[in-house]
Symmetry: C2
Subunit: 376 residues, 2 copies
């Protein structure tokens, strides 16, 4: 089979692979990106929350530092992509409103807010009434809330499309094939081979295959299925103004639910978290639960149009943090971004660029060495 | 604009229009069928229940007689189409199991069964336990049931596709355009004109436009929106045998719900009944309610795959019966079939053939004269 060469071969075309390919090509490398489906995985299913504050949780201090550092990198990349392509990625700076329904939820939210304050993250406690002043359609059963004004969101699909267009514009070559394995010899990676036996050689291979990464390399990444719905606010409801302005999230009977508004009336409703291997079936039970939870948070959602149901596989790791670093002289790993792939895509592409240039990474990456779970 | 002529112009390409076009062309007429969307309306959304027994209700004796008479016509047409095309329409003769959850439901079901027995329709009363012997996955909250062994079902989409193939084989010409109006002069219809001004003249026009009929003729037909889901039983659940064998239906909190099994593991879950004009939006609230009701009837349904959500507009009339008859020397009307369009398609095509040949209709059609609601 013929071999094709490039400086860099990026394996995986989700937001991590696209951002790395874009960054490396923009800095002058000859880059090829290989992916069979073209960002149809977790990146396409995602809700697009950029939520370092409302996602921050106990025991994940290093991850929180990374996600906070990622925000200005993300917004800078978004501006760069928009200028380069003339397209919009739908960045919104309206913050996240986290709500509680009962005294248990309220206490849990208060503890989490205290932790976030200690970590230097700004969030403002609200009564139920104050929460409804921000979002008038919230259920009357909402007892209290916390407003994280600095959380953002992006239209994940517009971001993927724009990133791809920008990558094409700086010369990234796209190959639509299924990778079957890495080319390795003398403890060094030389590229990848497709399932049909075509080889693509490269001085540097960047492996960004998300939940499929363990099929190519022995790493501790496992899929966490997320089922997610796309709804739309009918025009008659939004005639007097938007029905939802901010991302709203809460716990309903122990399940996390969030509603992310977009320009044009789309509302993304997510998401389940299920560990069941690589299955991406949308199930009746998950759709039912998501709609029930949305109804409890925002009763008017029952009148929204039902547009799409989809499942994606988040690439999780034992500590919920990504795996970013050099594996061998020819291989860089950038995967395992779990719930934060979109937010971390820009800062990860910077890190991969540093690694590809032979430099080390800053202290914010120390906790995310790929070898940290190495067995034995 | 150019004019095209044919013996017969059928306006509307749902099951009624297709069956009429097929029958008339099979009997030797030169037939043209005009429809913009190609059976994408109520016929495509339908569940395919052929249920003269479980649909029979108080005050609709004439309609029940017609639907009972329609069954052998339908099965004969299905056999004829299958022989002509080599395709299968997915006819199932497994009956309908109607279930009740509480004493009110149980009493209502008993009254309806008594009425059906008096009308000569066979249905067998069952205890909750007997119902679960027939369908082991039924909810334990099912208190009683009635089994209508003679109800049938058909795969509505296979039926539409087969009917269309058979119609093409006997020479029906299909025109994919939107009809804007009928051509009428001297109190007689001469064909139809498209929204772009193209005219199609015919000696006989057969108007089968379902819920869109009132846009072309002043008739008492109004749309009743039905939202319906298509689910699929995962293989792991059906490894030991089918999860559902018969159509199961019941009232859940006052809403009617039914589950219609198909070969290959598809389960159709219907349906809402909403009077809201010509809107065909699928709503979050309806999807939620359908899934909740299915769960209450058949809890294992939460594990089914969610395949499709769709809405269609049933063409209803003030007495729920169709409008079939001659309107003027050039116009035959066949519309308003409401919940029974698929079941009544064959017998309606026979009636339209009689009318087109200048003959009158039998007594089973006496109650369905198009003029019966005429104002003033």
């Amino acid at each position: 089979m013929p071999a094709s060469d490039s400086d860099v071969l990026v394996v995986g075309g989700g937001v991590i692979g696209l951002a790395c390919a874009y960054r490396l090509a923009a800095e002058g490398a000859d880059v090829r990106l290989i992916d069979a489906s073209g960002a149809q995985g977790a990146s396409w299913a995602a809700a697009g929350m950029l939520a370092p504050i409302s996602e921050a949780t106990f025991g994940e201090a290093a991850l929180t530092r990374l996600t906070v550092a990622a925000v200005p990198r993300f917004t800078a990349l978004a501006a760069e992509l928009e200028a380069a392509t003339g397209s919009q990625v739908g960045l919104r700076r309206d913050g996240t409103l986290v709500v509680a329904f009962n005294s248990d939820d309220k206490a849990a939210l208060a503890r989490l807010s205290a932790f976030r304050s200690e970590a230097g993250l700004s969030s403002e406690p609200l009564t139920g009434r104050q929460a409804r002043e921000l979002e008038p359609y919230l259920a009357t059963s909402v007892r209290s809330g916390v407003f994280a004004a600095d959380d953002l969101s992006v239209n994940n699909r517009a971001y993927v499309t724009t990133l791809r267009a920008a990558a094409e514009a700086v010369g990234v070559a796209f190959v639509h094939e299924q990778v079957g394995g890495l080319l390795q010899s003398s403890a060094r990676t030389h590229g990848a081979v497709t399932v049909t036996g075509v080889t693509y050689e490269a001085a540097t291979t960047v492996l960004c295959a998300g939940s499929a990464t363990p099929k190519l390399l022995d790493v501790e990444v496992y899929p966490v299925k997320g089922q997610i719905l796309r709804l739309a606010v009918p025009e008659r409801l939004s005639a007097a103004g938007p029905v939802l302005t901010r991302t709203v999230r809460g716990l309903v009977r122990g399940s996390e639910v969030y509603l992310v508004p977009r320009a044009g009336g789309e509302i993304v409703l997510g998401a389940t978290s299920e560990q069941q291997g690589h299955d991406t079936t949308v199930t009746a039970g998950a759709v039912y639960e998501l709609l029930r939870n949305a109804y409890e948070l925002l009763p008017i959602s029952s009148e929204f149009a039902f547009v799409e149901a989809r499942a994606g596989l988040r690439p999780s790791t034992p500590d919920n943090g990504p795996l970013v670093g050099r594996v061998d002289d020819g291989l860089i790993l950038a995967t395992g971004h779990y719930r934060n792939g979109i937010l971390l895509s820009a800062i990860t592409s910077d890190a991969v660029h540093e690694l590809a240039a032979g430099r080390g990474l800053g202290p914010e990456w120390a906790a995310f060495e790929p070898t940290r779970f190495a067995r034995g």
